[in-house]
Symmetry: C2
Subunit: 432 residues, 2 copies
């Protein structure tokens, strides 16, 4: 069985990949990340705030999620909770009424029958599921601390989903929940999580421009929560940045009262645009109380469990990274999450046999981590533009010209000029 | 930061895993797979037909899904389509009316406002999304064949979800869609998929008892579809099995008309119980027509695209495997998908230091693929029962008795008797 893939961009050794770029993007897509990702063929818009992750896009998302999994697995066990939630659990926390962006799911036939028997909340977050679940695991102090996480699709009925992957109605998220004997133990774990998040952002190439930022506590706590904010030119949040002390304050908490409470002068700080890439909350007893989550202490007394929760939008991260590492030519993926490390472009102006053979020789070695553009009916300019738009870290051009000059032309996506070298030299220098 | 994990079953080097077994299972859980998986702590029931995959359960599910991914990636590009579908797409195929098990999603506040602006179908399958998506990738014959797949959560409002993971309201599925120039090319790919499915079932340890089975065509085709049916004692389907020719017929198609059409005598065949683990359909032009999916042929004429679809329930497979490979003591996982290969049980009757040190020495080597039960407050019997119930392929008992006899006692889950040997001997024989 053969696939005539001469006219495709090949990905690895896949028989059929479905990779292409698009010239035009609908004007409905206002955000930079959606424009870039749609044009480069990484996502396909299905509805307002709802996207398909196409071949290369899903590869990037999986890379981000696998990296996230690596970091979180050090501290928590991975599970998968459902998206269909019992309405009753959301009544316990009162959020059925107070959270405006909830989706409900019902049997399609039940709606017309006005039968409420199968009515669910479509999970936007999982405190309402994980807290009752934890009750089954936590009996005594010996069962604590407990920490669980998942990486999963979430649903929020955002009113104006105009920010591409930064604020979607259906999105991907890592959420981790921790359970502790005391506030002290919770805060210790909370600090460990802060460090682990920064270590993940380091791997993602974001650490230099990402700041821990004090923000409002959200639904569950009047204390501050901590956001991780990444500086990007089109950021949706304004933060007051204290570069020296590597800390920031979300504009939403900038007021006289907090100025006193925190002992900072907001006017002295730099105002910058940023986008949230993570958000962690010390929940304390806010959820343990309504769900009656307790443990038996050493002295036999019943004590409430302290909780923390730690969110990270993996699809949102993909959008932020797409915006932050892009230029006028397209995407510029950091090496750890790029869909492929090498983008091999074979140009067939003349003596095409030789170019093909040399490309094949290279692809046979680095194919696992490569795209290979061997289209013959597409112009040189279009192929080079596509390589820039897709944004793999290394572009390798194989043409009659490069062969004449001594081999293959290797160019980093972040640099202007390439360098011609033998395949052997390329392998020695860039492939490990 | 330390976790007092002396009283836990440890998984790998995880700081906090959340692993325990349960003595009792609610009587609402009627199916063997749900009973076993809940008792062993692999899933937690949240609602009728809705489960959380807990630590060990999600590990098994991921193993099944990664194996599935490996096989499917040979033939198709992996993408991720959304769960929120436009209602309009389901009107195109008429299934909004004809499919009784659809879930609808709406903004929770929109329901009371009777505002239909955000009304979606919650995807039970993805023909209605992938066909319009394929239109963006298929222009000419050069773009064919195209094959795309995803592994994803699906939703179906099953009327009586009493079969545990075999028929859930929220479940995990691999769905692959292929697009072709002609019926001939489609059928060639269809046969390749049959073989790839059987090769996957081989890896899952199911091949000997899994049969390609002719069944009804479903919503889209009056032709037969092909199911993969695995023989299990509590199977929900009855199939007419022709062991010699390695083919079967679902009871639903057993009638005089088909007897003639297929040239078989159903009465001569063996009637057995089985459970469906996969289902593939030659869709032909059933979807291309309503969605107007065409391609430009070599001669410049516009031609309709031939389609096939190939489903495999990954969570359902977990349920079938749980039932098929179980005994009165609990689960018996095949090696490729077990949550861990080794279950180390340390018994602390006396001289506990020595047992602990030897266990630690072993765990330091095989920890990546091990559970370690080092609980001191749990009886010997309970620990051995838990090991049987959880069902890892190898149980390694380290006790004063095993040390006296020369080291560690290794027992396969499928065998009655263990064998005492030195750690070095164990590593040589069982660890690669």
């Amino acid at each position: 069985m053969k696939n005539d893939s001469s006219e495709s961009i090949q990905f690895r050794n896949e028989y059929s990949s479905g990779i292409r770029t698009f010239k035009e993007v609908s004007k409905e897509q206002e955000s930079l990340n959606a424009k870039l990702l749609i044009q480069a063929g990484f996502v396909n818009p299905e509805l307002a705030g709802v996207y398909t992750y196409t071949r290369l896009g899903y590869e990037v998302l999986k890379n981000i999620e696998n990296l996230t999994r690596e970091h979180m697995s050090k501290w928590a066990g991975e599970i998968l909770m459902p998206s269909l939630h019992p309405v009753e659990n959301w009544m316990v926390t009162d959020r059925l009424e107070t959270m405006s962006s909830l989706f409900e799911a019902r049997g399609a036939n039940d709606i017309s029958r006005k039968n409420n028997s199968s009515r669910y909340v479509l999970g936007p977050t999982h405190e309402e599921i994980v807290t009752p679940l934890a009750k089954k695991y936590i009996k005594s102090y010996r069962d604590l601390p407990l920490a669980l996480f998942q990486i999963q699709t979430k649903f929020r009925n955002e009113a104006r989903p105009k920010s591409g992957l930064l604020r979607s109605r259906e999105f991907r998220m890592k959420d981790l929940y921790s359970f502790h004997q005391s506030e002290e133990e919770l805060l210790e774990f909370y600090e460990v999580m802060k460090e682990e998040y920064m270590s993940l952002f380091e791997d993602l190439g974001l650490a230099d421009d990402t700041y821990i930022t004090l923000a409002e506590g959200g639904d569950f706590t009047k204390e501050f929560s901590h956001e991780f904010q990444t500086l990007i030119p089109q950021g949706e949040d304004t933060i007051y940045l204290d570069r020296k002390n590597k800390i920031a304050y979300n504009k939403e908490i900038v007021n006289k009262e907090n100025e006193k409470k925190l002992g900072v002068k907001f006017d002295d700080l730099e105002q910058v645009l940023a986008s949230e890439v993570g958000n962690i909350f010390p929940l304390n007893l806010k959820l343990s109380k309504p769900f009656d989550l307790t443990y038996m202490d050493k002295d036999g007394s019943e004590q409430p469990v302290y909780m923390g929760c730690y969110g990270l939008g993996t699809s949102r991260l993909m959008g932020v990274i797409a915006e932050k590492f892009s230029d006028e030519k397209g995407l510029v993926w950091p090496e750890r999450i790029a869909p492929a490390k090498y983008h091999i472009v074979t140009l067939f102006e003349k003596e095409s046999d030789e170019q093909y053979k040399l490309s094949k020789k290279l692809f046979d070695i680095v194919g696992k981590d490569s795209l290979w553009d061997k289209r013959r009916r597409v112009s040189v300019g279009e192929k080079l533009n596509d390589a820039d738009l897709i944004g793999c870290p290394y572009r390798v051009v194989i043409s009659s010209d490069s062969i004449k000059k001594g081999g293959i032309e290797v160019k980093r996506r972040t640099e202007e000029k390439g360098e011609v070298m033998l395949i052997e030299e390329f392998l020695k220098r860039y492939v490990k």
